[in-house]
């Protein structure tokens, strides 16, 4: 249910002009929810930013996601 929870936050934020970028772990659900901007990540549930030991890579995931806003 995590995708729906963040999806609903995303909807409310966008409607007051706060732009959102969402990490998507299960694209089928993200698309079903009609989330506007999302970065699809190839990771298992529980690992939205991938390897917990790889800070540089986690930062790049955040950068890529936020880049969707531009």
């Amino acid at each position: 249910m995590c995708p729906q929870t963040v999806g609903l936050v995303q909807k409310a934020c966008e409607e007051v002009e706060i732009q959102c970028a969402t990490i998507s772990i299960i694209d089928e659900l993200t698309q079903k929810l009609h989330i506007r901007r999302y970065l699809s990540v190839p990771y298992e549930l529980g690992y939205p930013l991938g390897d917990p030991d790889d800070f540089t890579h986690q930062k790049e995931i955040c950068r890529k996601a936020l880049s969707l806003i531009q």
């Binding site: 249910m1 995590c2 995708p3 729906q4 929870t5 963040v6 999806g7 609903l8 936050v9 995303q10 909807k11 409310a12 934020c13 966008e14 409607e15 007051v16 002009e17 706060i18 732009q19 959102c20 970028a21 969402t22 990490i23 998507s24 772990i25 299960i26 089928e28 659900l29 079903k32 929810l33 009609h34 989330i35 506007r36 990540v41 190839p42 990771y43 298992e44 549930l45 529980g46 690992y47 939205p48 930013l49 991938g50 390897d51 917990p52 030991d53 800070f55 890579h57 986690q58 930062k59 995931i61 955040c62 950068r63 996601a65 936020l66 880049s67 806003i69 531009q70």
Partner: protein, 167 residues
């Protein structure tokens, strides 16, 4: 390019979980209007909203796993938090918790975004962020009470953009 770390996703869920996901009446999260304001990221104030169920033992109550339909409450996580203070309070058994237990910032990426501020990629990191627990089967209270409160705080903080992190 992204390295493939592990891919199990839906396939590793139990038959019961997969069946529940297939019949669940998902909400339409498509925004009713399109935001016309686009501030460059290097001038933007960014906040994080995570559904990883993170909380701080010394400051917060844990999320209540007994509430039918899910705990719709949220916790405010300050930007200056020591990331090791964050505790995984998520009730879901549908995902492997070891990653966010080992490194809570993978569910609440405050250090990663601080680093992006230092680089000048984003303007600033908001002074507070928001943590929910995603296992909310009955989202009415979430929609009616919790989310408006969070959005009101984001507006008050002059947040321009939000990074949303589900687990």
């Amino acid at each position: 390019m992204l390295d493939i770390f592990r891919i199990k996703k839906l396939s590793h869920l139990s038959f019961v979980d997969k069946s529940a996901l297939s019949i669940y009446p998902w909400k339409d999260c498509k925004p009713g209007k399109t935001s016309s304001v686009t501030l460059p990221l290097f001038e933007s104030n960014i906040a994080i909203v995570s559904s990883a169920g993170m909380y701080v033992r010394e400051l917060h109550d844990t999320f209540d796993h007994t509430i039918k339909g899910g705990d719709c409450s949220y916790r405010v996580i300050q930007r200056n938090i020591e990331i090791d203070q964050l505790i995984d309070g998520h009730r879901s058994r549908s995902f492997d918790h070891s990653g966010i237990k080992k490194n809570p910032s993978t569910g609440m990426p405050i250090p990663q975004l601080k680093s992006l501020v230092e680089e000048g990629f984003i303007g600033s990191l908001n002074h507070r962020h928001f943590s929910l627990m995603g296992s909310i089967l009955a989202p009415l209270r979430l929609i009616k009470y919790t989310i408006p409160e969070i959005v009101e705080k984001l507006v008050r903080d002059k947040v321009n953009a939000v990074l949303l992190v589900p687990v």
